[in-house]
């Protein structure tokens, strides 16, 4: 359903091709300085870029409906609203009978009957993440007040993988290029990979990495509400995510314990670990090291070249050509979404239970 979170709770509303989309963020503490321009800036980062993104042109102006007065949070629910302007719904009718491979057309119609709203992807659209990014901007401010920074960048596009170890600064720096890569060199290589896919009428997948530093020891509520579990639940809501890993992640499977265990050391009088294969989490609780996660993002389902599908009413096999406006790679635009999602979860968890550092 459309609500998530415990002490900091997010509800998304609206739909892709309705009048607006938006978010309610409930539980934010009062008296926070909330810079609306910063919210707008995060939302702008989510927009498609020339050359590598969809030409759907939305202005995406964030309106504050409640919860922020005179630049400060009131303690009441924060309502954020963004109008939809550039909607072209005509072509979506057809997908109820001929579902697009890789999309939710079939599953949505089966679950919600023929009355389902698939215009622009309906509630499954990446457009629902506009509200998530706007709310996440506030969660980031809340975390920053506590000395916690969250930033993401593109770790991989197709065959191009950034193999350097990175920290939260890499995420911040990635804002300077449209690919959201950690360096300009990586950005250029990734751009070529995307352009090559687009030229083939195709799309390509990627990996987004997100790092949070400054977290105290003690965030997370085991047994079930672990840092990993809460982040994972939120991040699988981001359209296209097919996997998530923390620290060494899947590489752990091939490691020995003596390699994987992070030895404890003292750094500036604080207990830290000498390396971070745990990804900043032990027993579901933050251990004072940066939380490091990666999400796998599948190639955009909508591609220009023809695909095999089925007319589900007649049962006849058919060829499907999807026209319209689509990103050949979602990863760069997913970066601010992953950042926002992670910030919302970490802020919520940091408002629960007690922490000591």
């Amino acid at each position: 359903m459309n609500t998530i979170g415990s002490e900091l709770r997010l509800t998304l509303f609206g739909t892709s091709h309705g009048p607006c989309v938006g978010a309610v963020l409930d539980g934010a503490p009062p008296g926070m300085i909330v810079d609306v321009a910063s919210i707008q800036h995060e939302v702008d980062l989510r927009k498609p870029r020339a050359g590598i993104g969809t030409p759907r042109a939305e202005e995406d102006v964030v309106e504050v409906i409640s919860g922020i007065v005179d630049g400060k949070s009131t303690g009441g629910p924060i309502t954020l609203l963004v109008m939809n302007r550039d909607t072209d719904s005509r072509k979506y009718d057809r997908f109820k009978s001929v579902p697009r491979p890789g999309h939710a057309d079939l599953t949505a119609r089966s679950k919600y009957s023929d009355c389902v709203d698939l215009r622009g992807g309906g509630q499954f659209s990446g457009r629902m993440t506009v509200g998530l990014v706007a709310a996440g901007a506030i969660a980031k401010m809340l975390l920053e007040e506590r000395g916690i920074r969250v930033a993401a960048f593109v770790r991989q596009v197709g065959k191009v993988r950034d193999r350097e170890e990175r920290d939260v600064t890499s995420g911040v720096l990635s804002r300077s290029n449209e690919l959201r890569a950690a360096t300009d060199e990586m950005a250029e290589a990734m751009r070529q990979e995307i352009i090559s896919a687009r030229e083939d009428g195709d799309s390509v997948g990627g990996v987004v990495e997100c790092i949070a530093d400054g977290l105290p020891i003690g965030i997370g509520e085991p047994f079930f509400d672990t840092v990993e579990g809460e982040l994972a639940k939120m991040l699988f809501a981001v359209p296209g995510v097919k996997g998530i890993e923390f620290g060494a992640g899947f590489a752990s499977a091939g490691m020995r314990g003596s390699q994987h265990n992070d030895p404890f050391v003292l750094v500036d009088g604080k207990v830290r670990t000498a390396k971070n294969d745990a990804g900043g989490i032990l027993g579901g609780i933050t251990n004072g090291m940066p939380v490091v996660l990666r999400v796998a993002i599948k190639p955009t389902a909508s591609i220009a070249r023809g695909q095999r599908s089925l007319d589900v009413k007649s049962g006849r096999q058919t060829d499907l050509k999807i026209e319209g406006r689509h990103d050949p790679c979602i990863a760069p635009r997913a970066v601010p979404v992953v950042e926002a999602a992670a910030a919302l979860v970490l802020a919520d968890l940091s408002m629960r239970g007690g922490t000591v550092d």
Copy 2:
């Protein structure tokens, strides 16, 4: 915290070195035939095996306290209890001051103060999964009544990876070998990998794959309560899990859309896909294909060889040697836990919202 689930809700109780551990499973429908021997059988599968497991010897007899009368569920909460017998708590005191690398000692003590109960791992112990497996056995019965089977097996141990495509039968067959591998050949290769690690005073990681088939189209509650998100949240509670992926998972990042998209086809009059890179889920909702997931499991944190740690009170670097009873690889014993966890989530989701096939 220790409760999870919506319409089918699980609460774990007890602690590793207390009198007992157990589970409350709330919301199970009345009138289900519940074979207590089957519950016991699942719990037995979780026990360590000669040669590759810890010598901690627990009988693990499941007692039904409530919710099952005359072999049938009553509709009331099902309480399941397992006594702890073979506990040896003396050696755990030390870990509050010298935390074991890879364990929750440091994070637990920081979060919960010196009063934290770390005997046998306390609430972070793999022993808490006894109740989870017992409750999962009931979830599996509930799913079986609806024609849904859930089974897991070990996909990888260290450098040994099973590269064949597998289905739910592989999980069922894996019960015939102690490694929980899909075939006896794989089992033998994995056993060698584990023995080799143990001989080095070390441990090794692995990957468990879990498959559910027979699911109708339409299970899952987007935007936030997706099939992936709910499974991930539950599975990150299983000690040692560092990553989760669905279908093609992280491999999706290197794929093109034309490769990754699963074409729709008609099979026996039902809409299915020609392959299953989506892992049975589109838009967070089951699509009628098997749900396929894999979890990465880190190498056991407790190893026989000496490790670097820190006395957190004095701040002095120290060498730590962990004695006691530990599995050199958790993956085989994690198989029934992953199966149970997945079954609990799928049963809960299948009791929510509407489904059509």
Copy 3:
């Protein structure tokens, strides 16, 4: 917080003196015929009436933002929005230092700091119930499809109490008078009571009764999610409610068991009770008889006559005169709110667990 419900989930958004208020209703089944005019009609019933209500003049036009297309629910979240037009915020500043007796001024400022938004009552305003009534209209449609009717009326205003036994028809008929009384005679007597209070520069309390019939046996999820508990939690969100009772309610305290127990009888082949002191609920579960509840509503806190208060900053005792637009009795306007609240809870509960009749 601003979200409630399990399978049918309501989130309220906006604030009294912001641009709009609204509601997100998540989980409504797809394919329901949703008459937007009926939603509007319910919201109109909440408006103040000439002579006995506040002159704040809001048009309260309900806009459907998502979840209803071509007159049918899509299965996605239903977003409903109502603009605020007639806001006059100037006079509220003062209440942060001189809190109004009977209002949330003091508690809100203490909880949320000086940054709290008290304009028009902020998130504590009765205006937040506009979204609740709009969403409740949809819950009522959902219940009506299942043969369940919910209707409320004013049982008491000040000293005037309607002592007749009533059924759901009384609630429906009460729509014909502005007092929302069961009969025109009662309406006239109650009107006199309200006018008399207003003439004294005062206000008066009341009791609203709500009845739901057509409910099958078996709705409610004990031990904690009982029909009474869920209804009570929702109804105490309605501003001004100070008590709730079911069936014989507080009168039960003075009764004998032989009086109070409702004997079982057969009516048209169905098991019913000969009377209904249980208020349609046994063991937290509906018993096939109408659910009958009453809520006590305190006299409007804002009164024209001067009151004693305190300047909380200087600590000096002060006299407070509240100007502005206020209902001398909230009960009649609370009727559609209570109806909506009850309908939302009953619809949610009827979507959970299994029911048999």
Copy 4:
């Protein structure tokens, strides 16, 4: 279902005529001094007393299974277990076909099918409150550490009503008499009322009042998670409760605003109110005055004299005589349950959001 609470979460387990009942209390802070004798003392107060209670003789020894080590809370879930000994299940079979008026027999069987466990009332039994009282004892310790006291007493039995204004001390003093009345005189009058009912083969209802003082301003999470709403939801789980009111409660309906509004005054430099018709809550948030609530408790449904019921299988009207062990008035034994329930809710709410005094 059997779990309630947000940051302090309670799960009840077991069943009336199974091997044991118990509770899991999750989220209690670490390092609390927990006196197990005090838990036992609260549970003992729940036991029936000679002359006015059921002769069911349970020892009710509380065993701590987890979460308390060396007299201190560990921060992990606290598991408490009480064995059932004195169970006599034979007579309950019959109630599936001939439901007892005022009991959950019919509704439970309809909801949960013939497989429902009605022995001793099953999950609807007052016996489930043993775990609630034990967990509540810990919640009371947690509140006491913050200077908050919660105590209840019997306000009314049948026609005998205590009309004095009372405070939290009345609740504490009521422990000295078996009736749990505020004074010995009231106790004697109430005892006569109960004995008179019992002599008639009948039972009688009552009212329990509960007062919490020492609460800071600012507890409660409006719009939906109000202090009243959360307390009400919990208290309607207590078997026999038919109504709840706060402060002036239902009497508010007959009051004028000028009477009901509590003027703000300064007491020892703190903002308080001159009287407490609000019951310590404004806008769903505590206002620094004692929280005062009353619950109406219906007369015990099981009475010795014959009653009319129905054989639901044959549809034939039948006379029912209930033998066995029953309290002629539940109110005195409900006192520690109401206290525990209120303490659990207030402790949970005080762990959520921020408070200022």
